[in-house]
């Protein structure tokens, strides 16, 4: 188990942090979140071409960097710190991992190099209804007519679904010869007829989610030996990537609150000298240290100990989400009135914290999954 970054990984972190500090300061984040696309296309292009960040966990045969999930988690941490809106989680995490988890070499060779280059955005559509991921494909059905497929149904909370060029969809396929239905993965062109996308109104203005309705939408089946197992792997890797984003945001919330507590004076003293404030900040620090340790472990497991990944992923999902929201809440709280204004960035972290805490299921669902994996 390796929980400490090596010099190259530390260098990656510094480079990404500096890039985002220069290219995604608060004003740019706010401009991006209010723009038509909801993200900064120029930033995305530079992340792909100048820094090569979109294919860190992708093999070199698909033009990736052939690094790993520890490296990708570093990028996610920094994106979470900066709150930079981007399709990274949707395309460079979920869609990339889905293609790698499936067995469709042709789709990989076709899509991954363009995704890594930032020329094409892909998104994964699994959730329905309350947002929970259903391993069966849910109520979305795929029907076959000769060599071609058509999808019917509605997916929701699709990360980067509003801007994706290609959608990877989990749907229920009819059983052979009257047998029971089974889940299958499909590729759908987002601009195809029969695809209706609705950009949802979101609690968190820095990340857009889409509802996507399919009405006889033309689809291509993706080869997969076990569609449900692929989904489980994708979900676990996404939990790790999301935890990284949360740890970065948690750390930044702690820094903002700490910096402010050192300069804000009330009743003749810096508010950070009061134990009520100081102890709350110490608790957030403690959460961060422990959450970061769990994140390093989970991303290490994603690279080096896949048998430990399911438990590690459930662990970070259970621990880190609520910890980030506590930090986001106290960051607003310790800023007092100024923290409650739209102008101040504290609310952006608060909202990102809540949205990420619930994006892939509720804390209760995460705890139940952790209990499952512990054999309790």
């Amino acid at each position: 188990m390796q929980l400490v970054l090596d010099p190259e990984q530390q260098e990656l972190r510094s480079a990404v942090r500096k890039f985002l500090a220069d290219q995604a300061p608060s004003a740019r984040v706010r401009a991006a979140m209010e723009s038509a696309d909801g993200f900064d296309r120029e930033l995305w292009r530079r992340m792909a071409t100048e820094l090569g960040l979109l294919g860190l966990a992708v093999g070199e045969q698909y033009d990736g960097a052939g690094a790993g999930h520890v490296e990708r988690a570093i990028v996610q941490e920094e994106l979470g710190r900066a709150l930079a809106p981007s399709p990274f989680l949707g395309s460079a995490v979920l869609a990339t991992d889905t293609l790698l988890a499936l067995d469709d070499e042709a789709a990989r060779a076709d899509l991954l190099p363009r995704m890594v280059a930032g020329e094409l955005i892909a998104a994964v559509a699994v959730a329905e209804g309350s947002g929970a991921w259903d391993r069966t494909g849910g109520a979305t059905t795929a029907s076959r007519s000769g060599d071609s497929w058509a999808l019917d149904g509605t997916k929701t909370a699709v990360v980067a679904g509003d801007v994706a060029d290609v959608l990877l969809v989990l749907a229920s396929t009819p059983g052979q010869d009257g047998g029971s239905s089974s889940p299958g993965w499909f590729r759908v062109d987002a601009s195809a007829s029969g695809v209706t996308r609705t950009t949802l109104t979101t609690l968190d203005p820095t990340r857009r989610l889409a509802k996507i309705a399919f009405a006889g939408a033309p689809a291509t089946a993706l080869t997969s030996s076990d569609a449900a197992a692929a989904l489980d792997l994708v979900a676990d890797l996404a939990a790790v990537a999301l935890a990284a984003e949360q740890i970065g945001g948690l750390e930044r919330s702690l820094e903002m609150a700490t910096d402010y507590a050192k300069v804000r004076v009330q009743f003749g003293r810096q508010i950070g000298s009061y134990q009520a404030v100081k102890h709350g900040l110490a608790d957030i620090y403690s959460d961060w240290e422990q959450g970061l340790s769990a994140l390093r472990y989970a991303s290490w497991a994603a690279d080096h100990a896949r048998d430990e990944l399911p438990l590690a992923a459930a662990l970070v999902a259970t621990y880190v989400g609520p910890a980030y929201f506590r930090a986001g809440t106290l960051n607003v709280q310790y800023h007092g009135g100024i923290g409650y204004t739209w102008e101040h960035d504290a609310h952006l972290y608060y909202k990102r914290a809540k949205s990420t805490e619930l994006l892939f299921g509720s804390p209760a669902q995460h705890r139940a999954r952790l209990a499952d994996r512990l054999g309790v």
Partner: protein, 404 residues
């Protein structure tokens, strides 16, 4: 003095040596009762002879002069064994390093080798009934009388005092100075006339601590550690070692309040499948596991040459809070079986002992409140609270039994 950190190959060789030594020398059973101290001294002597005592201590006092990475390797390997080293932890972890840092050459070479080789047991004489978190408000006084200091007063919560040969005593030598300024640290011979040690029964019903009374105890003038009236510096040095020492301590292999024990408890009560209990157990596991992983990460950083320093406070605080969560979970699982059980039901008795001992972790070695302050001030750099008694002569303060 700079110490080479140790290459991976060197550390691995060291690990192999430690592993095989422990396999053949670690006692098979933990000695108890009258056997404890003789066996503990024997084991410490064996460690010393093998070159595993004072791994990071300088060679001129009998240590090995190696980096913390070597100590970490030894601790990792020793964690698999239950060995009787606890009578020496105060001496090895706190008193010894302080004498090494601040003592005279004569003190260093006369006391430290005997500590390392298991001849002497040490205790730390800081806390008093009126001076807990605010140690600098202590009232035990030492007055110079010819060639000796005469000590009167009382200490409390003194671990190992019942076995100790020496104690690091913090006493007030000048009450006309500000409270931090008039203190001096001494090496006290625990067998000297006028030293009385009484066991102190704690809320768990056991007596692992002591009260120590001083009645005109004479300490020779050459037993001062550091300078007269500079005892606070010595205390800060020692408390720094204490944090590292506590941070490096690893929990015993099984506890009635750990996740695995509570899962077994839930199964026996037939509630392991209950969704609410499953969630509680998962939540407890998460907190236990992230703390474990944080400790692993700190150890890996130590191995890489970055000792954790004040971050040890995070581990101590999180450990204390974890116990509270575990107590809550245990009660939800076992319900009234937690509070009443059949004679001979050892598991319920152990669980009750765990519940009744838990408050110690939130108080001993720096309360949770003090740990919060350490994290806030030393790690996050937040300002200290104004200290109203800092610039007033001790004699004028309301502390302990003194009313200014």
């Amino acid at each position: 003095m700079s110490v080479p950190n140790g290459s991976p190959t060197e550390l691995q060789e060291f690990r192999d040596g430690v592993r095989s030594w422990l396999r053949s020398h670690a006692p098979a059973t933990m000695p108890t009762g009258a056997d404890l101290i003789p066996e503990a001294k024997k084991y410490q002597a064996a460690l010393f002879d093998a070159g595993y005592a004072g791994i990071t201590w300088p060679t001129d006092v009998g240590g090995q002069g190696l980096s913390p990475a070597y100590q970490q390797v030894f601790s990792d390997e020793a964690a698999a064994y239950e060995v009787p080293t606890h009578p020496f932890t105060i001496g090895m972890g706190m008193c010894g390093p302080t004498v090494n840092d601040l003592g005279t050459q004569e003190q260093r070479t006369s006391y430290l080798p005997r500590l390392l080789s298991g001849e002497d047991i040490w205790c730390q004489l800081f806390s008093e009934p009126g001076a807990g978190s605010d140690v600098a408000s202590l009232q035990t006084k030492a007055v110079l009388d010819g060639d000796a200091w005469v000590v009167n007063g009382q200490k409390v919560w003194t671990t190992n005092a019942q076995w100790a040969d020496f104690g690091a005593l913090l006493a007030r030598t000048d009450p006309d100075q500000r409270k931090h300024k008039g203190l001096t640290m001494f090496i006290l011979d625990m067998h000297a006339p006028g030293v009385t040690v009484r066991p102190l029964k704690d809320m768990s019903g056991r007596a692992p601590f002591n009260e120590v009374y001083f009645d005109d105890v004479r300490i020779p003038v050459d037993a001062v550690i550091g300078e007269v009236n500079a005892g606070w510096n010595a205390a800060v040095t020692m408390l720094g070692h204490e944090r590292v020492s506590i941070g490096a301590t690893r929990k015993p292999k099984s506890s009635p309040l750990e996740f695995a024990s509570l899962v077994a408890l839930a199964k026996d009560h037939g509630v392991a499948g209950d969704p609410a209990q499953r969630e509680r157990l998962a939540e407890l596991f998460a907190h236990e596991r992230v703390l474990e992983l944080f400790n692993v990460r700190m150890r890996q950083e130590t191995m890489a040459g970055n000792p954790p320093g004040a971050r040890g406070s995070v581990a101590k605080l999180a450990g204390a809070l974890l116990l509270r969560k575990a107590i809550e979970t245990a009660g939800q699982i076992a319900a009234s079986d937690t509070i009443a059980w059949e004679p001979g039901d050892t598991r319920s008795a152990e669980l009750a002992l765990g519940i009744n001992s838990a408050p110690s972790s939130s108080i001993a070695g720096g309360t949770n409140e003090v740990q919060h302050n350490i994290i806030g001030e030393r790690i996050l750099g937040l300002p200290k609270e104004p200290q109203v008694d800092r610039d007033i002569p001790f004699r004028e303060l309301k502390v302990g039994t003194q009313r200014g």
